[in-house]
């Protein structure tokens, strides 16, 4: 084998050194790269660090409109065991005249804030010229009957000249990732709701994770209404409480002292179940809608969220 000289090797080694996993260098990237992919969360979302990423408070991080299931925007209306069709819109804002060959993967997962277990739903490749947004072909897959009633969809993109990009899901901070992590529940007025989800530590290091749940803002209600092309009267869920389903004492505490924020110590790659409980309002008429957002973040002060789940609760007809 003829080998190239040391200078090229050195250059290539530098270029091939792995710098993944959300390094600061990754976040400092500007848009002067040859390829700059983003799965848009909103119009003109270019995915720039300190601008569009991390996703700001006005952005519904658990509902990326670029991910569309069965032609219905803003919903994850799959049926277990049946064919499900997914398209993803992908933007390329590289500053050259290049066209990027893009690899798209769509994963499904148990409803999680912080993903540690992914299942491949579908994948494809497509070419996206710089400065354009293109829609992928339809990915057709089946979420098995063994899956939970609610699953999260994650989309991930990659291209050879696009720098950065975490191999682990990080839709809040990484423009290469996006999620449709939305769960629809129907309840009676005044009824207790119960929703089980997972909290995962996607990193390799043990860490404390703060998980919170809250009713969303009016602004989020408006955004979701726009995406779903619907209209509703915003409502709120009361007595929000998070607890470990294996912890009976905590379950009892639900009724005594609801706590909407918990801190979990998780080993690297560990995930743990949590149960969210709450109570629908006594007046919960048809046309009302409550929305909850579950977020997770490293418990250290000032860390951005890394996971989020959306719950949409409507009165049972």
């Amino acid at each position: 084998m003829t080998l190239i000289n040391a200078t090229f090797v050195e250059t290539a080694a530098r270029l091939m050194a792995r710098t993944s996993r959300n390094t600061q260098d990754d976040h400092d990237r500007n848009v002067d790269a040859g390829t700059y992919l983003v799965i848009p969360y909103f119009p003109n979302d270019v995915g720039r660090p300190a601008n569009e990423r991390p996703l700001g408070p006005g952005v519904v991080s658990w509902l990326c409109p670029s991910i569309v299931v069965n032609d219905v925007p803003g919903e994850n209306n799959f049926k277990r065991g049946e064919e499900t069709r997914v398209t993803v819109d992908i933007g390329n804002y590289g500053a050259g005249t290049l066209t990027a060959p893009v690899y798209l993967k769509v994963w499904w997962s148990d409803p999680s804030a912080g993903f540690t277990t992914l299942n491949l739903f579908g994948q494809t490749t497509l070419a996206i010229p710089n400065g354009t947004v293109r829609r992928s072909m339809e990915l057709v897959g089946v979420i098995p009957t063994s899956a939970p009633a609610h699953v999260c969809l994650l989309a991930q993109v990659w291209s050879p000249l696009d720098v950065g990009g975490s191999p682990l899901p990080d839709p809040m901070n990484d423009r290469h990732w996006a999620q449709l992590n939305i769960n629809d529940l129907n309840v009676d007025a005044g009824q207790t709701i119960q929703f089980m989800f997972w909290v995962g530590n996607p990193s390799t290091q043990a860490d404390e994770w703060e998980v919170s749940v809250a009713n969303v803002s009016e602004e989020t209600h408006e955004v979701v209404q726009r995406m779903r092309r619907s209209s509703h009267t915003p409502s709120a869920i009361h007595e929000l409480h998070l607890h470990d389903p294996r912890d009976l004492e905590a379950a009892v505490a639900t009724f005594l002292r609801p706590r909407s924020t918990v801190v979990l110590k998780l080993a690297g790659g560990e995930r743990r179940p949590l149960v969210l409980t709450g109570r629908a309002p006594d007046a919960f008429a048809r046309g009302s809608m409550a929305m909850l957002e579950i977020t997770s973040a490293p418990a250290r002060r000032g860390q951005p969220h890394t996971g989020s789940i959306g719950l949409i609760i409507q009165p049972r007809h």
């Binding site: 080694a13 990237r29 497509l126 400065g131």
Partner: protein, 591 residues
């Protein structure tokens, strides 16, 4: 001066619309019917006539552009071979890993490894040849300056600039007079279209460029190719290969050349129009034109790679790969689009005043290097995994320094046992991801190469490239308050931008096209309600030919000084670089 597709679109327009202005003139209509019938029967001759200006250009050129394009086409073919080999290796290895117990699995795997080593060598060779081509293309010497811009006297101009700037109306009229066969008449009809299309189309180009070819030759080339590519896509003009086939006359059955009837008509028309000049070598021009058209269609991108088999990648999460370019290379081309959708960045890195506009080719060189190293690393890792060991890239690079000898750890053949080790999910997923990544990178290399050749003006922008604002800017007429804009001293590196210069004086009336018009404004279907375009120009010339009237003008086919401007010169004793040009409109007979 227009390109092949704009000319054929204009020919189509004129053919369908020219009779529209003569409905109340039965004699003219009858003559036109005959002419159109001849053109339909001898469509290939008419097509040849409509690109007569390009044939003249090829006849009188130094052959540099054709030579560069040939080199580029050869390298492209080498690249396609490399890509196909990698695709085959990938397919074989995936098949072997999917079913390592199959009877042909070991053979498939070894065949794939052997192919990979060949791909690596091919990439090295390609890289060296690319560097050679880059050094030849970068100065953009194939896009010639207009001699007028250097105050070169007309008698020293080459045929291209004479044909576009002197007495071409006289030439076209003379073709009709001397056409003795239906085929020669058809050729004359085509030449009529060529003239008319250049008058109108060059005005369009001048508007979107900011000035005529003389002042902005690099932008003019990009604009010409952008308009042509767009018209080919939107108006459905024939492919370059089809055009080549149509005009490849072989009068004696072997070599390409003009049929004798057209050849003699040309000679007489040339003698009438330019009695003091020796005509170009028409057969040479035609054979080069055919070759040019054939080469232009050689740059087809390969299909984008298909993803790896899901069952082989399930052990890897996300996009873990050995071969991801995680840092920006400073030589990446930065021209294109900023976040507001505007053209931004700089095409090139000025280097002591020489034109080195194409950093895209440096990007391609980096890609090829990475492919080479990536394959070497993959082969090294395959060797490690086949022994059940971990693969550490650091060990690989430590051992590489300065070594030219084959690495004894590299597997030349794998056994059944080693293949089974490779098929372990933790190893297999890395192998297939790596091969897929390499194939994607080669595809990106093709894109980079196409981008480089497009920005250099050597090839048309394809469906992907034309989406870029770099080309899109030429597909819509901007509002221009002043025109033409003076030559830009930084044009060699900044020609992707609208010229930042002031207007050449006296300012001229640029174009008759309103703003926000696409190229259909001059090349699309024409109706009598439109006062401008190739068709009314062709109608006027036909009227003169039929009536023998002297109401004719030799128009500047670059639309230099504006739409319908006659041929002109700088008055004696003055310079093209004067603050205000001393423009002398030439008489009809002035050579």
């Amino acid at each position: 001066m227009l390109d092949y597709h704009a000319h054929t679109a204009a020919l189509r327009q004129i053919r369908s619309a020219i009779k529209g202005g003569f409905s109340s003139q039965p004699t003219m209509l009858s003559a036109l019917d005959t002419l159109c019938h001849d053109a339909d029967l001898n469509a290939d001759a008419a097509t040849l006539g409509c690109i007569v200006d390009i044939v003249v250009d090829h006849a009188s050129s130094d052959g540099l552009e054709l030579s560069l394009l040939q080199q580029a086409a050869d390298l492209w073919a080498q690249g396609r071979s490399l890509y196909d080999q990698l695709a085959n290796a990938r397919s074989s290895l995936e098949q072997a890993l999917l079913d390592p117990a199959a009877t042909d699995a070991v053979q498939l795997a070894n065949s794939a490894l052997s192919t990979l080593m060949g791909v690596q060598n091919a990439a090295l060779s390609l890289n060296a040849n690319m560097a050679s081509l880059k050094s030849a293309v970068d100065p953009l010497a194939h896009i010639k300056a207009h001699p007028r811009q250097s105050d070169v006297p007309e008698e020293n101009w080459g045929w291209r600039d004479v044909f576009l700037g002197r007495r071409t109306d006289a030439f076209v009229e003379s073709l009709f007079r001397h056409a003795k066969t239906k085929r020669a008449s058809a050729f004359a009809f085509g030449a009529l279209s060529s003239y008319s299309a250049n008058v109108a189309g060059s005005a369009y180009l001048g508007c979107v460029v900011g000035g005529p070819r003389r002042l902005h030759r690099f932008r003019d080339r990009l604009a010409r190719n952008s308009v042509g590519a767009w018209l080919h896509s939107q108006a459905g003009t024939p492919s370059c290969t089809s055009l080549a086939r149509a005009i490849a006359f072989r009068p004696f059955g072997v070599a390409i050349g003009f049929p004798s009837d057209i050849q003699s008509t040309l000679k007489e028309a040339m003698s009438d129009a330019w009695p003091n000049r020796t005509g170009p070598d028409w057969d040479l021009g035609l054979s080069r034109t055919v070759r040019h058209l054939q080469l232009l269609d050689q740059f087809q991108r390969p299909d984008i790679p298909s993803p790896p088999p899901p069952s082989l990648i399930s052990a890897c999460s996300g996009m873990e790969s050995l071969n991801v370019m995680n840092e920006q290379d400073p030589n990446f081309p930065t021209v294109g689009v900023d976040t507001d959708g505007n053209v931004s960045g700089s095409i090139g890195q000025p280097d002591g005043g020489s034109s080195q506009p194409k950093s895209g080719s440096a990007c391609l060189a980096v890609i090829l290097v990475l492919i080479t190293v990536g394959i070497a690393l993959l082969i090294y890792c395959i060797g490690q995994w086949s022994e059940g060991k971990k693969c550490k890239p650091g060990d690989f690079f430590d051992s590489l320094q300065g070594s030219d000898a084959p690495d004894p750890r590299d597997p030349t053949n794998v056994s059944q046992q080693q293949l089974s080790a490779l098929a372990d999910p933790s190893a297999a997923c890395h192998i297939v991801n790596e091969l897929f990544s390499l194939q994607m990178m080669i595809w990106q290399g093709f894109d980079t190469a196409a981008g480089y050749l497009g920005v250099s003006g050597l090839i048309y922008p394809d469906e992907f490239m034309i989406a870029s604002p770099l080309y899109q800017q030429f597909l819509k007429t901007p509002p221009r308050l002043t025109w033409p804009l003076r030559e830009d001293s930084n044009a060699a590196t900044d020609f992707q931008f609208d010229p930042p210069t002031s207007a050449e004086q006296p300012a001229a009336a640029n174009s008759p096209f309103p703003s926000h018009e696409n190229p259909m404004a001059f090349a699309g279907p024409w109706s009598p309600q439109q006062s401008h375009g190739p068709t009314p120009i062709a109608q006027q010339i036909f009227r003169v030919v039929q009536t023998g009237s002297r109401d004719h003008v030799n128009r500047d086919l670059d639309a230099d000084r504006g739409y319908l401007h006659p041929c002109w010169a700088i008055e004696a004793g003055h310079s093209i670089h004067d603050a205000t040009l001393a423009v002398e409109v030439l008489s009809y007979d002035a050579d």
